[in-house]
Point group: C2
Chain length 344, copies 2
């Protein structure tokens, strides 16, 4: 079963703006050395998740609080994998697991650290890719932060940027279930149609057409109680203008600011004072203990029962991972971006 060659996406160089395949990262084939010690497993990766936060790890973090990717090493992230060799009785050969893996075909996970088995994975109606999406980190991100930071109340209005993305589409559907008025922005007419027709948003607009503030005012004439922030820059500025007293900003991401050396200057932060706004950044692990069990139960059952839907954008083959990642940073994906590396 073991293979002698592995293909990995290797990190080459810190990008200043958008990373370029071949310059900042590239696929390399190398010999797969397997020397499992007690409790180690060898994984054959089936899906890997591409997420905007990864761009934040593509920098020199010697002086930073958060670990970055290492030059010369494979990028990593959440994946769904099959155990193909095992010295760990908890994860026998044939088990399907989710956890942190390399962007590569095969990963040895020392001590099986951080892996979680997906029970009945081969028989389930749930696609395996869901475990790095709606049932994985992006799903928990949406579920926990909306509840804990957003403090949503029926009748309030929420505005979600990047609303058809990995996190936004679930935030919107949860907010609808909680009887909020849901407004979204996205970067194409197709995405806007998806928000309105499929996800039943109350209003949505294409931020690339016309003035963002005017579009937002038209979509939320009553103002916004909660802004689910994935974008930053001009969209944040517009949100601050229309926020209501005691508004909450869930600062999940600011993807418009990750790939530029000319970040946008937000000029109306004085609204945070005047409107008594709370803006809070987080990472999902902050909330896992508090929300993990409720999330798995609620979102799992909603998904199985067809009460929510979740759109994925699946690139096929590890060779396409770098291009798919750059495309996601540019908003070319439609739905949660994943890479399918192999069939089960």
């Amino acid at each position: 079963m073991a293979k002698s060659v592995n293909k990995s996406v290797i990190f080459l160089k810190y990008p200043q703006e958008f990373p370029v395949p071949g310059e900042h990262f590239e696929v390399q084939s190398h010999e797969l050395k397997i020397d499992l010690k007690d409790n180690d497993v060898l994984l054959r990766n089936l899906f890997i998740s591409l997420d905007p936060y990864m761009r934040g790890k593509m920098r020199n973090t010697d002086n930073s609080y958060t670990a970055g990717f290492k030059i010369g090493q494979p990028l990593d992230g959440a994946g769904v994998s099959e155990v193909i060799e095992s010295k760990n009785p908890a994860f026998p050969v044939g088990a399907i697991v989710t956890g942190m893996v390399g962007w590569e075909e095969y990963t040895v996970v020392a001590g099986a650290k951080g892996l979680r088995a997906i029970p009945n994975a081969r028989e389930s109606k749930i696609p395996l890719s869901a475990y790095v999406g709606v049932l994985g980190m992006p799903g928990l991100t949406a579920y926990s932060s909306l509840k804990i930071i957003g403090q949503p109340k029926a009748g309030e209005t929420i505005f979600i940027s990047a609303a058809s993305g990995a996190v936004g589409q679930l935030v919107g559907q949860i907010a609808k279930r909680l009887d909020l008025r849901v407004v979204g922005s996205a970067g194409s007419d197709d995405k806007v149609e998806y928000l309105l027709k499929e996800l039943k948003f109350d209003a949505a607009f294409n931020y690339k057409k016309g003035n963002i503030l005017e579009s937002l005012r038209a979509a939320a004439p009553e103002g916004v109680d909660i802004y689910y922030e994935n974008v930053g820059g001009e969209t944040l500025e517009a949100a601050l203008e229309v926020m209501k007293l005691h508004g909450r900003i869930i600062a999940c991401g600011m993807i418009s600011q990750y790939n530029t050396q000319n970040p946008y200057g937000v000029k109306n932060l004085v609204n945070i004072v005047g409107k008594r706004i709370t803006m809070r950044g987080f990472i999902v692990s902050d909330f896992a203990a508090e929300s993990g069990a409720d999330f798995a139960r609620d979102v799992g059952s909603w998904l199985v029962n067809g009460e929510i839907i979740y759109k994925e954008d699946i690139a096929v083959g590890i060779d396409n991972a770098p291009t798919a990642f750059v495309g996601m940073l540019q908003g070319k994906n439609f739905g949660k971006q994943v890479v399918k590396i192999a069939d089960l």
Copy 2:
């Protein structure tokens, strides 16, 4: 006892930048008509408070959540006053009270609404001006927001901008009592010396000399856990650079942004995401119920026992109120700005 003429500072016109005495507000004399109804009182104002938030009320608020000053009417704010006519048995003639009054010599308060008696005011060692400063709204602002938003813990570092001002000087002294490392910025060398020598700050710098970010890095090389925000703009941007993981920003004010039509664009808000920062605006009334009693007990006893000090900048005479207000917006005051209108 009653007078027939009253001098008031009347609001004339919405300013776009700094208000100009004579153009946007001015002192006018007019007949004092006294026709007290049941429960009304006539006050002779002794001190009025000038506060930066008042600039935020000098705008057309027809479409706003917060009430603004009315054109043609006196400005108002917190004051300390003597009751000189009364149809309210709770506030007899001779009582010393604090509450909202006009910027003027005499104010009729219908129903004595919002007034609070200062017990033993004539015998107390506490100067009456303290009741619009360290023992009034600015004091409660400092005390409550540091505790509730700041969540200070011994050993943490706090950075306070406008640190010798009405709120900042108390924040710094409370933080020292809680064993935080306290860093402040102010706009003159005299103020910096006051922070270091009198208030025993651990570090302080003059933001007008050199680069703010470099000065802040030198003053807080270990980073900042709590930023007490009074200034906004470039100072906020510098604070975001040096904030630590899970930092808290207490958004009390942004005075650098109140008097300009060219607000500063803050370019590094992405730190809120990456460092999981919470930034929260508030007004003091949000916290009065929770903190009011503790505040009165703690700060009152510290002040009486000489455990804290509090610097005031006292302009004399209602005629000087407009100039003193503009000076405060320009940072010319040294300590809490008040206007003494009359002797007791």
